[in-house]
């Protein structure tokens, strides 16, 4: 029958499948739903056959030769020479571009995998250099690959393996910069902004002119043999100087993240690398424009300065506008949480592109956008979205970075080169120093060691190379030589400086990053200091740094936050936000199953242990808490972004929410408990006196809610596990012989969970609170920082 033959000639996807669907609707019975899949397929085939009779066949595109019905072919094309039906075809062209892109990305990621396994044994190589090493190793593969030929080779020739500048600037660079900008530590950045700007602007300018000028001079003094160098004019040299003088954020990020240098130096070098983009853009365009003309007048210089201001400030402005837009949008996303991360990415990318439209500094726009939107967006989006944003940014920037370095490696071997010893050596020697002038203006001076590290950390990278690659060969006949020199410099800085900076840091005993946790005391005192210094400045009548910062903060609190942050959180002071964050982390990391409940033989010990007990418990919670906070605060380092064990595998939202509510209640309870006026107000401890005066307050509290979820027990009297708590720190107390080792044991002692809330009513449960009014019955419906 028709059906049989059509089944035999079953086709695959058809562009006119949609139309088939349409006619399927027409032809099939309403009871179609009850057909099985096979039946549906049969039906489709039937329709296909029937469709061929109708004029529908005329609308299908002519080159779907696979999908045209055999009968139709037979009917309409009599002189069509029928060949054997191709069962399997190879159509590489169709998917070539995405396939190659995916292949590259896959290669990059596999390399990253490999490099970590390798690095276990060779632990001193910073990852990015090892990726460059990998590309050195990969290159033979490439050549073999290209000799294997076929479609791969033709594509190789067609799109050169060296970094396509457009690809670089539009696709590979933005993720890295956005990652850097979004997780930029604002406080140290702002505090050192003066120095950073000085390095970025003045330092880069100086470097550019110095290097360019000196290179020109060196080229000119080439004795006797008229070499190719004499032909280089001043302007191309200056252009080269401007390209090569800029410290590269990609390379800096890659190397500095590994060496854990102290915050100040890190932010100086890193900030400088970000902000010198504006200078680079202006200088590059300036010299490029005028190297055709050959001369640069004073007017041009003046215009250049104005252009610089426009580029820099314009870039930042564009970024801030988009950042505020993103923040505002995130205010309303409480019902569509899934697309929240998308807003972050898309707004930031559009900021970059918009800035590039006007030849403004795209990097600065991206940084400004990320830094601006972060506090507001983080207050608005859900925890999961936050995690998504973080992981996506890390993922993209990681892949980008690896790809960039792979391309660099490929370009090294495969690109057009023109080696010239003089040029290259002089360039390499000149790169990267001159910081002592800047030191005069700093309040907290940099030591010589610090200056040296800053200079040493001035790495050049792929941006320089791409800019060089963009040069027009007609205007710059020396382009190949430039490229060679740039690559050499990049390799030198990345390899030599990158690999040796770590031992150098050790050798010079430069202060390393403090591994200390951000404690709540520090937070309190940081805020206290801010206010104190502002106050002193006001008393002095001196409108300094703190005064304006304070004004900005107040403006922010009064107007901006109300506008951009949804709900209750707009009024939350920073200290409270910090505290809530800590507690939230604590709530998340609660283990899900309770350890076996110990009998209440400790009950009699309880009264004396109680006040300290609870303190201990809270203390240990806080300590473990703060370790987690530290993990989180540190996680902007891409290379140490190990799987934060408490980020994945959350329970469902309800449990979390429940925990948070419980936690809030417990804190309230604790506070109530603490404010019982029985104790003299100066009593430093919780309630030792009170409780010892009334030891008979054992009371089994009823389960507060019927939700069979994990309960957080901070200090709750009604928790059946309060006894466990006792037991735990009794154990901990025994183990606490050795001093600070108990830090880890603090983690052991976590408030425990009941499995399904039914473990419950241990009659010897203690209550530690006399006046606890019990948990409040109402749930707080909008926990602002939970979805």
């Amino acid at each position: 029958m028709q059906c049989d033959s059509s089944v035999a000639s079953l086709q695959v996807i058809s562009p006119s499948f949609v139309q088939q669907h349409a006619c399927e609707e027409r032809f099939t019975q309403p009871g179609r739903e009850e057909f099985t899949g096979a039946g549906l397929l049969l039906l489709i085939v039937l329709v296909l056959l029937q469709g061929s009779v109708l004029p529908l066949g005329a609308t299908s595109s002519p080159d779907t030769t696979h999908n045209v019905d055999n009968r139709q072919v037979k009917e309409e094309k009599y002189n069509y020479t029928k060949k054997a039906f191709p069962v399997l075809t190879l159509d590489y062209h169709h998917i070539q571009a995405p396939f190659e892109i995916s292949l590259w990305i896959l290669l990059a990621s596999l390399m990253k995998l490999g490099e970590y396994h390798v690095n276990v044994t060779h632990a001193l190589v910073p990852p990015d250099t090892s990726s460059v090493r990998h590309c050195a190793r990969e290159l033979p593969v490439d050549h073999r690959g290209s000799s294997r030929g076929g479609a791969h080779q033709t594509s190789w020739r067609r799109s050169p393996p060296v970094l396509d500048s457009r690809l670089f600037f539009l696709c590979l660079l933005p993720p890295i910069i956005l990652d850097a900008g979004y997780f930029l530590p604002i406080r140290p950045f702002m505090e050192n902004l003066g120095t950073i700007l000085m390095f970025a602007v003045v330092g880069t300018l100086w470097n550019a002119f110095f290097i360019g000028g000196l290179l020109y001079a060196v080229c000119q003094i080439q004795p006797a043999n008229p070499s190719i160098l004499h032909k280089i004019e001043l302007l191309p040299c200056l252009l080269f100087g401007s390209i090569i003088s800029a410290v590269d954020p990609v390379a800096v990020l890659a190397v500095f993240e590994e060496i854990h240098i102290n915050e100040l130096l890190h932010i100086l070098v890193f900030g400088e690398s970000l902000l010198n983009d504006a200078v680079t853009v202006v200088l590059y365009h300036l010299f490029e424009e005028y190297s055709g003309a050959g001369t640069v007048t004073v007017l041009d210089c003046f215009l250049g300065i104005i252009s610089f201001l426009v580029v820099a400030i314009g870039g930042v402005l564009v970024g801030v506008i988009y950042g505020l837009l993103a923040a505002f949008t995130s205010r309303f996303t409480s019902h569509v949480r899934v697309i929240e991360p998308l807003f972050v990415f898309v707004y930031a990318y559009m900021a970059y592109l918009s800035a590039e439209v006007f030849h403004l500094s795209g990097i600065m726009a991206l940084i400004a956008c990320g830094a601006t939107m972060r506090p507001y967006v983080e207050a608005n989006i859900s925890h999961k979205s936050h995690t998504t944003v973080k992981y996506f940014l890390k993922m993209w920037s990681s892949v980008s970075e690896t790809l960039i370095f792979i391309f660099l490696g490929v370009a090294t071997v495969d690109g057009p080169h023109h080696w010239n010893w003089t040029f290259v050596t002089v360039t390499v020697l000149l790169c990267g120093w001159l910081t002592y002038v800047i030191n005069k203006f700093r309040i907290v001076k940099l030591t010589t060691k610090d200056q040296f590290i800053i200079a040493y950390g001035g790495l050049r990278g792929a941006i320089a190379f791409s800019l060089g690659f963009l040069l027009d060969k007609k205007l710059f006949p020396m382009r190949d030589m430039f490229l060679t020199a740039i690559i050499t410099v990049v390799f030198f800085t990345v390899f030599v400086q990158g690999m040796t900076i770590q031992p150098l840091v050790e050798l010079l005993a430069v202060k390393k990053k403090q591994e200390a946790k951000r404690t709540i005391n520090e937070e309190i005192h940081t805020q206290f200091l801010d206010h104190l210094l502002t106050g002193i400045e006001d008393i002095c009548g001196h409108y300094g740094h703190h005064h304006w910062k304070d004004k900005l903060n107040r403006f922010n609190k009064k107007y901006v936050k109300k506008c951009l942050i949804a709900g209750e959180r707009s009024k939350e002071p920073q200290l409270i936000a910090f505290y809530h964050k800590m507690e939230f982390k604590q709530a998340i990391e609660m283990p899900k199953k309770p350890p076996p409940a110990k009998p209440a033989e400790k009950a009699e010990k309880a009264p004396s242990q109680l006040p300290k007990g609870r303190e201990e418990e809270i203390r240990k919670i806080l300590r473990s808490n703060l370790q987690r906070t530290r993990l989180r605060l540190r996680s902007y380092n891409r290379h140490t972004l190990v799987a934060d064990p408490f980020e994945d595998g959350f329970g469902d939202l309800l449990i979390k929410k429940q925990k948070m509510i419980e936690l809030e209640k417990k804190i309230k309870d604790m506070n109530n408990y603490l404010t019982v006026p029985a104790a003299p107000p100066d009593s430093p401890t919780m309630c030792r006196a009170r409780l010892s005066s009334d030891p008979q307050s054992y009371r089994a509290k009823p389960e507060s809610d019927s939700v069979p979820t994990i309960q957080v027990d901070l200090a709750s009297p009604q928790s059946p596990d309060s006894v466990n708590v006792m037991d735990e720190f009794r154990r901990a107390g025994q183990q606490r012989g050795g001093g600070r080792g108990e830090e880890d044991q603090g983690l052991m002692m976590r408030p425990h969970k009941t499995g399904e809330g039914a473990d419950g009513k241990d009659p010897q449960k203690l209550t530690r609170c006399l006046s606890d009014p019990g948990p409040s019955a109402d749930e707080e419906e909008d926990q602002p920082f939970l979805p």
């Binding site: 309040i443 907290v444 001076k445 200390a516 404690t519 709540i520 005391n521 520090e522 309190i524 005192h525 805020q527 206290f528 200091l529 206010h531 104190l532 210094l533 502002t534 106050g535 400045e537 006001d538 008393i539 002095c540 009548g541 001196h542 300094g544 740094h545 005064h547 304070d550 009024k571 939350e572 002071p573 200290l575 409270i576 505290y579 004396s608 006040p611 300290k612 007990g613 303190e615 809270i618 203390r619 240990k620 806080l622 300590r623 804190i667 604790m670 506070n671 603490l674 107000p681 100066d682 430093p684 401890t685 919780m686 720190f729 009794r730 107390g733 606490r736 001093g739 600070r740 603090g746």
Partner: protein, 220 residues
């Protein structure tokens, strides 16, 4: 004129030695002092209270109190006074000088201790040498005082948590029987070790000419 000049210089020299300010800075601060005091010899709390810019500061009372606190005069006296002269004013200000390249490590350490001592005195209002829980609570409450009533409950929780943290850091082997009296100066130093006070707690006096700045009295 000449005689008063040398006398003023002589005074300044004294002050410069004691506080470490330069002549320029002392002159500027003197002008500011005159502004605040209405050209009198001493200033009182009311003078400082009337600075409009301070009105928004949550810890205003503590700051003003610190000026009148005798402990900050480094003369081993305790208590507080009602009026302070220029010298005392300068002594308090000297706590906020930044270190420079020439300060040695010992000097930096001494500076840090001094600044921390200043902070400690601000917290320890009853001058018993420790910051008790109540005092610390008060600190946190003041900090959050501008944020309305949502601050109250959490302020207590925060203060408690902070106190426990201090205890855990400083007395790790504290048994369940003991209780933590209060933060002593050594413990205070310990917990704020990470903040690098000597470089954070300063303002840029430089050679600021305060007479050109609008006086706090006429306008903020």
């Amino acid at each position: 004129m000449g005689a008063s000049q040398t006398r003023a210089e002589h005074q300044y020299q004294d002050l410069a030695d004691k506080t470490g300010f330069s002549f320029e800075q002392i002159k500027n601060l003197y002008q500011r002092f005159q502004q605040l005091s209405g050209n009198e010899e001493t200033i009182s709390r009311a003078n400082l209270n009337s600075i409009p810019a301070l009105a928004n500061n949550p810890i205003r009372k503590q700051i003003i109190g610190a000026f009148f606190d005798k402990r900050n005069q480094h003369q081993d006296e305790v208590g507080s006074c009602d009026q302070i002269g220029f010298e005392q004013f300068l002594m308090v200000m000297s706590h906020f000088r930044p270190p420079n390249l020439r300060t040695t490590d010992e000097e930096k350490e001494a500076m840090r201790k001094e600044k921390l001592r200043f902070l400690f005195n601000m917290h320890d209002s009853d001058n018993d040498g420790t910051i008790t829980l109540a005092e610390y609570r008060k600190v946190v409450e003041e900090l959050l005082s501008k944020s309305g009533e949502i601050g109250q409950e959490t302020a207590k929780a925060i203060a408690d948590a902070a106190m426990l943290e201090v205890a855990s850091i400083n007395v790790p082997n504290m048994g369940p029987e003991e209780f933590y009296e209060g933060i002593t100066f050594e413990h205070f130093e310990e917990i704020l070790k990470g903040l690098e006070m000597e470089s954070r707690m300063h303002i840029r006096f430089l050679d600021v000419d305060t007479s050109t700045m609008r006086c706090g009295k006429s306008q903020s």
